[in-house]
């Protein structure tokens, strides 16, 4: 964190952010019978040049959270502020200006690029929507610069997406996200569609960009090892709620929430010598439906430590003075480090 972080307003802040999707029944007269509580009261802040990782399994609401943070979807309750401004209260030109500061890299480089546009057109398209960003005469040069920044050959600007490999396509997606000079890049599973040997290239590129351009990043992934590699701070999500946040070291070496520890125990490590799967911490059962989450602590149905107290909902709070809040009535002892870390 930067020294000025305490004084400057955060780049991105979400407060009690909530998104419920209604469940309706009836054909002619639809009526609401429930709601999928995809995101349910999430607080988070991202400071300048900081990287926040959001980890969770499928169905935990991490992609819904991404579209709320990007102001692509209206929250049911709660607020998002970007540089202190609320995107949902703005419209027209003001909203467009605000959007320039936050850009997104999508998961699938095969479906997120228009197959009928050339690489140059794809990377230059943001300038058509935000003509004030770069004067027309400079756009060709800027596109070439962007391609070079992400490690692509500017002479390939007239090629179509199918002429690029998966890794190169993801680089195009990153170049497009950088076109407007954002301060924050939101990456939703940016490497999970790529082959192992190519993932590392894209991860290294993201890391270089973040450092060279002093970009803040929100990095959403199901893969703990990938998140570990890129992020300063990490938030763990379960069923629409954040259950723990902390620095990379705090989360990986001294997790406080039983869910975080279970996730770490389940993640396979590429070392046959370490093959003693941490059976004691493996979870039973599946993720409950977000349409009818358990009362109280949402993790209690799968938690090995659940007790009566867990029927009341725990708040995300800090103990022991460390900046490492967790939503658990019985947080794990942080004095014992995980053995395989």
């Amino acid at each position: 964190m930067l020294p000025s972080a305490e004084t400057a307003p955060p780049l991105l802040r979400a407060t009690a952010l909530t998104r419920h999707f209604p469940i309706t029944t009836g054909v002619l007269r639809k009526h609401r019978t429930g709601a999928v509580r995809a995101v349910d009261g999430v607080d988070l802040t991202v400071h300048r040049a900081e990287t926040l990782g959001i980890v969770g399994e499928s169905g935990c609401g991490k992609s819904t959270l991404a579209s709320l943070l990007m102001a692509l979807d209206q929250p049911t309750a709660g607020t998002v502020t970007i540089d202190g401004q609320d995107p949902f209260s703005l419209s027209g030109r003001e909203l467009r200006t605000l959007r320039r500061r936050v850009q997104m890299v999508l998961q699938d480089p095969y479906t997120s690029l228009n197959p009928r546009m050339t690489a140059g057109q794809i990377v230059g398209e943001p300038f058509a929507i935000h003509p004030e960003a770069v004067p027309k005469a400079d756009r060709g040069r800027r596109v070439a610069e962007l391609l070079e920044t992400v490690g692509l050959d500017p002479s390939h600007r007239d090629r179509y997406p199918h002429q690029f490999s998966g890794g190169q396509r993801q680089r195009l997606g990153i170049a497009r996200a950088l076109a407007l000079g954002p301060r924050l890049l939101l990456c939703d599973e940016p490497v999970s569609a790529l082959d192992v040997s190519v993932q590392a290239q894209v991860l290294n590129l993201l890391q270089d960009l973040r450092r060279d351009l002093r970009l803040a990043c929100v990095f959403i992934s199901h893969d703990l090892a990938v998140v570990q590699h890129l992020c300063d701070r990490i938030a763990v999500m379960y069923l629409g709620k954040i259950v723990e946040t902390g620095t990379r070291e705090q989360i990986y070496t001294t997790p406080r929430h039983p869910y975080t520890r279970a996730l770490l125990a389940a993640a396979p490590v590429p070392d046959p010598g370490r093959r003693a799967p941490d059976d004691a911490h493996l979870l039973e059962g599946d993720l409950p439906s977000p349409a009818s989450p358990p009362s109280g602590c949402r993790f209690r149905t799968r938690c090995p430590h659940a007790r009566e107290q867990c029927l009341t909902e725990p708040e995300l709070r800090t103990r022991d003075g460390a900046d490492h809040p967790t939503a658990c009535h019985f947080p794990l002892d942080t004095t014992t480090r995980r053995t395989n870390a």
Partner: protein
């Protein structure tokens, strides 16, 4: 002949081509491996490496045309599967050899209850009566630890969660006590916590039945936790094969080494990654010589013209197809 003389499943110099109007694609080019009883062998490879095609060839699931098995042998306890009639192969499939697919939602029939589909295995292959077959289906679901099996046997695939659906797939594969189970990316579609449950289940079942498990995957972590031996494929060819410990500790091929250096790991916080440059070749344009040479940091001119032989590096059976295999094998792992 002692039972050990025949491995359970032996694949020798397997070549599979797809003949299309736009040319011939060689998807598998000289794959060999042997799987023993109670053993887990991993076929490790990225997309396009030919690992799934190789499995389908063994299962006899490839359509000819366009696929043609042009060379090689597949032997199940000495019985040549490729020489069998389609009917003979169908008999073997399910009873002696079975497969777990990646995506249980598309592999299961959506309009039949799970019980009907499991019972069908007994009705078709063993002529079991309807009631008895259903009872065995329930027992099977119990065996793969599906809770409340007697009630859930009437449910349809969409009513199960991803992990439970994968258990149904496993139940179906194990129904007739096969000698060999081929699992093609069995946990790729699942979350990590569920993946851990499924891998643990497979291991427990293997302990009960002594089945040979061929695990096809791209995930270096899953392989490290599950496999006894590993065969690494690249562009349709075998590039390395060794015991799991040996392969991770002393890789003998630059590709394997590159893979190990490029995965982010939970046990190495913040360590920088060394990626492999470039991208895997398309099966339609595999480079001449060593297929990996355009991406290889160690490549010399001869790598572009001379295909390296698959050589033995150690008495323990560590083999590698690289001109500089010894040098790579003995270099320290970073």
């Amino acid at each position: 002949m002692s039972p050990d003389a025949h491995p359970l499943l032996e694949v020798e110099d397997l070549c599979v081509e797809f003949r299309t109007r736009r040319g011939t694609i060689r998807a598998v080019n000289g794959l060999s491996y042997a799987l023993h009883e109670g053993e887990t062998l991993a076929l490790l490879g990225e997309s396009g490496s030919g690992k799934s095609v190789a499995a389908q060839a063994v299962m006899g699931l490839l359509d000819t045309p366009p696929a043609h098995i042009t060379r090689g042998a597949v032997r199940l306890r000495g019985d040549d599967l490729l020489a069998m009639s389609p009917e003979g192969h169908r008999q073997v499939r399910g009873t002696r050899l079975s497969m777990i697919f990646q995506d249980a939602l598309t592999a299961l029939n959506p309009v039949l209850s799970v019980g009907d589909q499991l019972a069908e295995m007994y009705r078709v292959h063993q002529g079991t009566g309807r009631k008895a077959a259903f009872a065995r289906a329930v027992a099977l679901m119990d065996r793969v630890r599906i809770p409340a099996a007697a009630r859930r046997v009437h449910d349809y695939p969409h009513q199960f969660s991803g992990g439970m659906r994968q258990r149904v797939m496993i139940a179906m594969a194990l129904a007739l006590d096969p000698e060999v189970v081929i699992a093609d990316e069995p946990t790729t579609a699942l979350d990590v916590t569920v993946q851990a449950q499924i891998m643990r289940l497979l291991k427990q079942l293997q302990g009960e039945t002594r089945m040979g498990l061929l695990l096809i995957t791209h995930d270096l972590g899953v392989v490290a936790e599950a496999a006894d031996r590993i065969t690494v494929m690249y562009a349709g060819r075998t590039v390395e094969s060794a015991s799991a410990e040996d392969l991770y500790a002393r890789p003998g091929h630059p590709y394997t080494r590159g893979l190990l250096d490029s995965v982010p790991r939970l046990d190495r916080l913040g360590k920088s990654l060394v990626p492999i440059t470039g991208a895997p070749p398309l099966p339609s344009s595999v480079p001449a010589g060593c297929a990996f040479h355009p991406r290889c940091p160690r490549a010399e001119p001869r790598c572009g013209s001379e295909a390296p032989p698959f050589r033995t590096l150690s008495p323990a059976g560590h083999r590698s197809a690289c001109h500089f295999a010894e040098e790579v094998h003995h270099a320290p792992v970073g």
